[in-house]
Amino acid sequence: MDETNIGLWGVPLAILAGAIRVSTPFIFVSLGEAITERSGRINLGLEGTLVFGAMTAYAVAVLTGSPWLGVLAAMAAGAVFGLIHGFICRFPRVNDIAIGIAMMQFGLGFAFFLGKPFIQPSAPKLPSIPLGNWSSYPQVQAALNINVLFFIGFALSLFLFWAFRNTRPGLILRVVGDSTDAARAMGINPDRVRLLATALGGSLAAVGGAYLSLYYPGSWNEGISSGQGLMAVALVIFARWNPIHCFLAALLFGGTGALGPALKSVGVTQGYYLFYAAPYVLTLAILIATSSPHRALSGAPGALSLTK
């Protein structure tokens, strides 16, 4: 038997590796969206922000040679996208969902326009931490070679969970998201809080994009995103606006997404395409199972236009 052949163990291992690899952008986008939605606003434009972030990060990394500068530049670009969304939404009779869709198309188109010259050159990648060196199997080593952004995302989800309860900005965010009137009565300006929350959400979504172009798949082209920015919005609802649940939901989503490729890698030749749809089927199934026609969505921020 071949020393490096681990047989069917490859499937769970591939799922684990896939979960971590695929989930990272979901983690950032969904945490960003969770912040925005907790403030009572939905930003559907995160798909555009994500792709624009991917382009910015790649371009800046190519030009400066530093992937981290690329990530920072992406965050700045994402924040600008969020600010534009937030700024437009503060006008009366403007619908945040419609603006989000417009911003999504704008982000996609603008990224493709500015990103043309960067399809060819190659950018330095973001570093990863090899946690698998104890094993002699290259598969294990590869699976446990985990990108730094994943850890940052994990830490961020814990931090946000804590911050929503224990910090002034966290409580203010929840107040604004739950009741615009109560916020006004407290002398908080809801529009400003939402503006900042949307900007922060945009900058996190752009980090998700930076991960796509600078780590996995690690190149810039027009097909870089497969709808992560849109799915993340569904993930946030699925996670009931809880940052730790967002992290777990992203992992689950990533893990089921890795099912198809993992089966393919162990030699299943037929029907594995069906498993590419697994994350979406799973999301649908869980959303249906946890919803009810008789009661309102629990945990939903009261001022969110979804629940109005």
């Binding site: 224990n166 910090t167 409580l171 002398g187 008789h294």
Partner: protein, 516 residues
């Protein structure tokens, strides 16, 4: 002592006094407040009376800095102050408890209190805050659980928490805007008694907006009465009778009088019967259980209860908006599922609460809204395919004059009408033609005296004509005035029944509060 709050607590004898001088507020050509001067001395309990639109809320909004008065001035503790925003009002220790709760539902009581402070540390040390809150609550007459989300608290607890919040923020002058509208009589008495105690000890001054004369006579020292933006009377509560106050409040308007109540016939037939009805409530966690209820022709059955005890769900069950999990509903002896055909065959009519949202299409015209029951019928009762615009308009014009709906035209959108006129329009639609069963929910909420009198008279008239009426209301006075029988709903069950005549309010209140 490190002060994290603005000021720790109103101290004994430190209540603020306020005085308005010639306060006037104009919105364009409309004068909402006309030269109003009132004085509220420190440590007094002052009531502010007036109909809807009389200028009460304009006055308190001017005091609190939401509006900037066109002319006139405000003094606090004898010194003239300029209040440009609620924040300025707070620095002068003025606070307000709104009619609608301003607590954030998903936050706990403790979180609500802490976040409402002007200075909140960036990272909240909950151990320390909890200790300080416990200490603060020791000095409060109210007992409220602070660790539960506010959405889980009863209305009375929320109202107390609103007041506690103002005191926590160091306010020593409080405006209470109809503070008891969602409380049981017992809760209201307890809460106002405690507040009264605080004013007597000199720690607090209160200006209370109220519609309830018995509260004013029981708890207030002085009263000021507004009508159409003008101060029409002020004085010691002891010097004025309820009739004096009412007369000043409404002026010389003739109120519609209730028909005298025709006796319920012995042989009155049962129109509505519910047996063993079960349905999930809004949260899906509890069930609504109506074991047995019947309403006979020519009687009004009143359902009393504190808001949120299943009245909404009960009304939804009857209107077909909430599916039953068990049991059955009969109207006129046959099973009833609230379909349009059954509603029409049995002459069932509805007046839901907040009629603009629940019984109207706000942007459609008044004339269209008035034809919702009949637009798809031809004159001979068969199904109509084409609408008869002219017929609808003609009918609408007749109903508008008949029910005294004030509107610019029958083709204005119904949302442009005032609350009382929307309610009149819905009544016009629902009470026209034969009505066997009328289901009414909070019909007079937020309406002024003349609209209330008119609407009650219409319902009583329908009853005397033989309609079976089920009246769900959170206003116990209304139920006592209107009903033949009163049934108390508590936590989704009917727990107590009494004839309205000679009913004991104390007993009803105790059942409403869940003591049964």
């Amino acid at each position: 002592m490190s002060i994290v709050r603005d000021t720790p607590l109103p101290e004994r004898g430190r209540a603020a006094s306020i005085e308005t001088l010639g306060m006037t507020m104009r919105f364009g050509a409309f004068t909402a407040l006309d030269d109003v001067s009132i004085s509220v001395p420190a440590g007094s309990f002052h009531a502010l009376l007036g109909e809807n639109g009389a200028g009460k809320s304009t006055l308190v909004k001017c005091i609190m800095g939401f509006y900037h008065a066109t002319s006139g001035s405000l003094s606090v503790d004898g010194r003239e102050v300029a209040i440009a925003s609620p924040r300025d009002a707070a620095t002068h220790r003025l606070g307000m408890v709104y009619q609608h709760f301003t607590l954030v539902p998903s936050l706990t009581g403790a979180e609500n209190l802490v976040i409402s402070r002007a200075e909140v540390p960036a990272v909240i040390n909950w151990a320390k805050e909890r200790r300080e809150l416990a200490e603060f609550m020791e000095r409060m007459p109210f007992r409220i659980p602070l660790d539960r989300p506010v959405s889980e608290l009863a209305a009375g607890e929320k109202q107390k928490l609103e007041i506690v919040k103002q005191l926590y923020l160091g306010r020593s002058f409080l405006i209470l805007d109809e503070p008891t509208s969602v409380l049981t009589p017992a809760e209201a008495d307890e809460m106002l008694g405690l507040v009264r105690g605080m004013t007597e000890s000199g720690g607090l001054t209160v200006l209370m907006i109220s519609h309830k004369f018995h509260e004013i006579t029981k708890f207030a020292d002085d009263v000021s009465i507004l009508r159409r933006g003008k101060l029409v009377g002020t004085g010691k509560v002891g010097d004025l009778s309820t009739a004096d106050m009412a007369a000043m409040m409404i002026g010389n308007v003739k109120l519609a009088e209730l028909d005298s109540r025709a006796p319920v016939r012995e042989s009155a037939e049962t129109v509505l019967r519910l047996s063993n009805v079960r349905a999930p409530d809004r949260s899906g966690l509890k069930t609504i259980e109506i074991d047995d209820l019947s309403v006979h022709e020519g009687e009004i059955v009143g359902i009393a209860g504190i808001s949120g005890n299943g009245q909404k769900e009960f009304a939804e069950i009857l209107s077909g908006q909430r599916p039953l999990s068990a049991g059955n509903i009969e109207v006129n002896g046959s099973s009833y599922g609230a379909t349009r055909a059954q509603t029409r065959a049995n002459n069932v009519r509805f007046i839901p609460e907040e009629p603009l949202q629940n019984a109207c299409a706000p942007r459609m015209t008044l004339s269209e809204n008035l034809s919702f029951r009949t637009f798809d019928l031809k004159a001979d009762g068969r199904d109509a395919l084409w609408l008869s615009k002219a017929g609808m308009k003609e009918r609408a014009t007749a109903l508008i004059s008949d029910f005294k709906v004030k509107t610019a035209s029958s083709s204005s959108p119904i949302a442009a009408l005032s609350g009382g006129n929307v309610q009149r329009a819905v009544l016009a639609r629902e009470l026209t033609g034969d009505v066997d069963l009328l289901i009414v929910s909070n019909p007079c909420f937020g309406l002024d005296f003349s609209a209330v009198a008119e609407i009650r008279a219409r319902i009583m008239k329908a009853r005397n004509a033989g309609t079976a009426v089920l009246l769900l209301s959170e206003d116990l006075d209304e139920l006592l005035e209107m009903s033949d029988r009163i049934i108390v709903i508590s936590e989704g069950r009917l727990v107590y029944e009494t004839p309205a005549r000679g009913a004991d309010i104390g007993v009803i209140g105790a059942h409403m509060a869940g003591h049964h």
